[in-house]
């Protein structure tokens, strides 16, 4: 079920009413309702995939219980390994089977040995990468004794499948989300109202910014050979806004929806395009995944404790794995590698934690240096996005070589004024609200209600009058 669909528009109020008015007296009933609603939400795509998520949840629940019953290190390690093998095994099969098959076939052909292997027609279950990482965080944390294993099967299953963030995150830690299923939720007016605002902003980002930018990004990327460098720059910028509007929009809707049910999800985006260097960008972009890799991969690999070279090696590993997590294609791996490469000078100069505050804090405008830093960071990430969006590496390289050619100075073949106008307005609003959790946070504002309402009506009107053609959220494929 898509957030920007009629089905969800009916589903959400129905679940909300049942949750707060029918099953509100018992915590267990509320959790059970969330579980059922989550399975309906997920099964709307394809009910057969429910078996996967139920199996994964069962395995990790039982492993959690088993971990609580043994202190033997070997047994505990075995249990953890089993969980990792099952979860990564599913992910590997559904997402990477054909990729490895083709890569091996290509490698053998390259060395003069022709082998034939048949591709399988595998349909990737929606959101498998997200819930796999979420449930893995549980077993790892239980293994490390950071978290008490749960004996509440409904709470655990609801945690794994919690519908607002099930298919595209934020990837929640068991330590943050699971305990929220044990505590009686109280309805909080401010939290719910702010949740609705965040949902509205998420819809604006998705429908007006991402879907409109997607239209032109798709045209330009699909026929990139026909366009000049200047148009290709536009295409890359459109894609940068498409993926940001799409993914952060989804996160906003997920976080906002959770708040309506009394849950707090972690922040996933913190105005990343205002970052002054690539390290800051990665502290602000897809935070739940970056911190997941930090906690469960980078630190176990030794983190930065083993000196500069160890730090560099580990950074490259997590960026490349992160790229591979996004999809079974070499383009994602190169995208990850490129980002690691951007990181390198900052690490060598030990400047990867310089910009940890909010840019131009307590000022309306950034200074020239900050503007330049923001532009350079945005340009670097946009270049990397070309690999992310391209069909294959050759396509990306040809695309970039055309950008850095004389045709860059030609007039673009088309210049969609309306989309560019919306992007500019969007950036301005985000800039003005960059010290908040999200751009529509008006918690302590003195703005009168009618002005705020007028602004919300305007956003709704823009969504319905100028929204792009409905497209699936990009991150569903991951």
């Amino acid at each position: 079920m898509l957030f920007n669909s009629l089905e969800f528009l009916i589903f959400l109020p129905v679940v909300f009413i049942l949750y707060w008015f029918v099953v509100h007296k018992k915590l267990r009933s509320q959790n059970f309702l969330i579980l059922v609603a989550s399975y309906v939400f997920y099964g709307w795509w394809d009910w057969r995939f429910l078996s996967l998520i139920i199996f994964s949840s069962t395995v990790d629940f039982l492993i959690g219980v088993s971990l609580s019953q043994t202190e033997k290190i070997r047994a505990r390690k075995l249990l953890l390994t089993s969980s990792i093998l099952v979860n990564i095994g599913f992910l590997g099969f559904f997402k990477y089977y054909n990729f490895f098959l083709e890569s091996f076939t290509d490698a053998f052909t390259f060395f003069g040995h022709s082998i034939s292997a048949e591709r399988l027609h595998i349909i990737l279950p929606v959101g498998i990468s997200f819930y796999t990482f979420q449930t893995l965080s549980y077993t790892i944390d239980v293994y490390k004794k950071k978290l008490e294993p749960t004996k509440d099967v409904i709470a655990f299953f609801a945690f794994v499948s919690f519908f607002p963030q099930l298919v595209a995150g934020p990837i929640e830690r068991a330590t943050n989300l699971l305990p929220q299923f044990y505590i009686k939720r109280k309805f909080e007016y401010h939290k719910a109202v702010d949740g609705l605002r965040q949902i509205l902003w998420g819809l604006f980002k998705k429908i007006v910014i991402a879907d409109n930018a997607a239209k032109f990004a798709n045209i330009i990327f699909d026929s990139s050979a026909e366009y000049s460098g200047s148009t290709l720059v536009l295409g890359a910028v459109f894609f940068a806004f498409q993926i940001y509007g799409d993914f952060s929009g989804y996160s906003d809707i997920a976080i906002g929806t959770s708040r309506l049910f009394g849950f707090n999800l972690m922040r996933n985006f913190a105005f990343p395009y205002f970052s002054r260097d690539i390290a800051e960008f990665w502290r602000r972009w897809h935070i739940s995944l970056s911190t997941w890799f930090r906690d469960y991969l980078y630190i176990p690999l030794g983190g930065s404790r083993g000196g500069t070279w160890m730090k560099i090696r580990n950074t490259f590993i997590i960026f490349i794995v992160s790229g591979f997590w996004h999809g079974a294609n070499w383009t994602f791996i190169v995208w990850g590698f490129l980002n690691a490469l951007y990181f390198l000078p900052l690490m060598l100069l030990n400047k990867n934690r310089v910009n940890t505050d909010i840019v131009a804090q307590h000022r309306v405008f950034a200074n020239a240096k900050e503007i330049l830093q923001i532009l350079v960071t945005f340009s670097l990430t946009t270049i990397a996005w070309v690999f992310f969006r391209a069909e294959n590496i050759t396509h990306a390289l040809v695309y970039l070589s055309e950008i850095f050619s004389a045709s860059l100075f030609r007039k673009p073949e088309f210049f969609p004024v309306q989309v560019i106008f919306f992007i500019i307005v969007f950036v301005m609003i985000e800039w003005l609200q960059r010290d908040k959790e999200h751009a529509l946070e008006f918690e302590h504002t003195k703005m009168p209600r009618y002005v705020r309402f007028a602004f919300y009506y305007l956003l709704i009107a823009v969504i319905f009058l100028f929204g792009g053609q409905q497209q699936e959220f990009i991150y569903f494929q991951f």
Binding site: L6, W20, F187, Y189, A192, V193, F453, I460, F464, F466
Partner: protein, 309 residues
């Protein structure tokens, strides 16, 4: 919770009022479809020739140029799928119907759904597209059937029409026909021509419906003949500059398909596709204007008279 529901209610009231106003407006407005179906029903006993097709026929077949009583049931983007269902729904009431003119364009066999127009046609003609459910579109014409974007565009056009001294098209349909006035110069530039050709190329390239639609048309022709009604295929011209940009393979396939229908059913085909050289006959690069519609409708009438004799 009470405070939340109260705030939500206050917020929703203006939206509900806007919805109500537009729902009433859209459900009562005299759409082109409504005008066409009303005209068809009112002339059940008189109609002898029924013209079908998409906007090329809607703007291109002028019933006033025919000697026999003719009615135009073509509409913007109308597919063969709907041509057939509209005709068969009313055929038993059309007592004097003798000829059905079926528009056979470059892309006719390559689509059956008209997108959002399926719902508009359902509203006014009560014909559904395949097994598409229209339940929610029945619930709200404003939010779903027409969508706010199209509603606003309809209202905007209506307002602008009042201030426009030289409208680009007729305000009301004439025997189902909607004439366009004048020409849009920008449409005939090389870029405009290529854009339109690309549109048709995309339509045919991205479609896998040809065989299904051909079989459906085959069946339509058979059913008409069983009822002693003569089906005639026709193709109105697009501007001559468009044709070189069309994918040759599909142009050839279309000719083959037309030939198949002609020989299979022994029917007539009026092909005017190579007659689109005079720009003054066109409103834009693929639609005739009033002058062009009169010109080609007269030609069709002459051809029809030959059939009569």
């Amino acid at each position: 919770m009470k405070r939340f529901l109260k705030t939500l209610l206050i917020f929703i009231i203006p939206l509900a009022m806007v919805t109500l106003v537009f729902e009433i407006y859209l459900r009562t407005m005299n759409t082109e479809y409504k005008q066409k179906i009303t005209g068809l029903v009112a002339n059940y006993d008189d109609i002898e020739v029924l013209a079908l097709g998409n906007s090329h026929a809607y703007n291109g077949v002028d019933p006033r140029q025919f000697d026999l009583e003719t009615y135009n049931m073509a509409a913007g983007n109308q597919s063969l799928y709907f041509d057939k269902r509209i005709t068969l729904k009313h055929i038993d009431s059309l007592k004097n119907l003798r000829y059905v003119l079926i528009s056979f364009d470059q892309h006719s066999l390559y689509f059956s759904s008209q997108g959002i127009r399926d719902t508009w046609l359902y509203y006014d003609y009560d014909i559904k597209y395949k097994d598409k459910t229209e339940f929610w579109n029945d619930v709200s014409h404003f939010w779903l059937g027409y969508t706010p974007r199209i509603t606003v565009s309809i209202v905007k056009d209506k307002i602008l029409e009042r201030f426009n001294d030289a409208p680009s098209h007729s305000e009301e349909v004439i025997k189902g026909f909607m004439p366009h006035y004048g020409s849009v110069a920008s449409s005939f530039t090389p870029a405009g021509i290529k854009k339109k050709a690309n549109y048709f190329n995309r339509e045919v390239k991205n479609s896998d419906e040809r065989e299904e639609n051909l079989a459906d048309l085959d069946d339509f022709i058979t059913q008409l003949k069983k009822k002693d009604i003569t089906p005639i295929l026709f193709t109105l011209p697009m501007h001559t500059d468009i044709y070189p940009h069309l994918i040759e393979e599909y142009v050839a396939q279309n000719k083959k398909d037309a030939q198949y229908l002609i020989t299979q059913h022994n029917i007539i085909y009026w092909d005017f596709s190579d007659a689109g050289t005079d720009t003054s006959l066109f409103y834009n690069n693929d639609h005739l204007n009033q002058k062009g519609a009169a010109f080609f409708s007269k030609k069709m009438n002459t051809q029809l008279k030959k059939v009569l004799h």
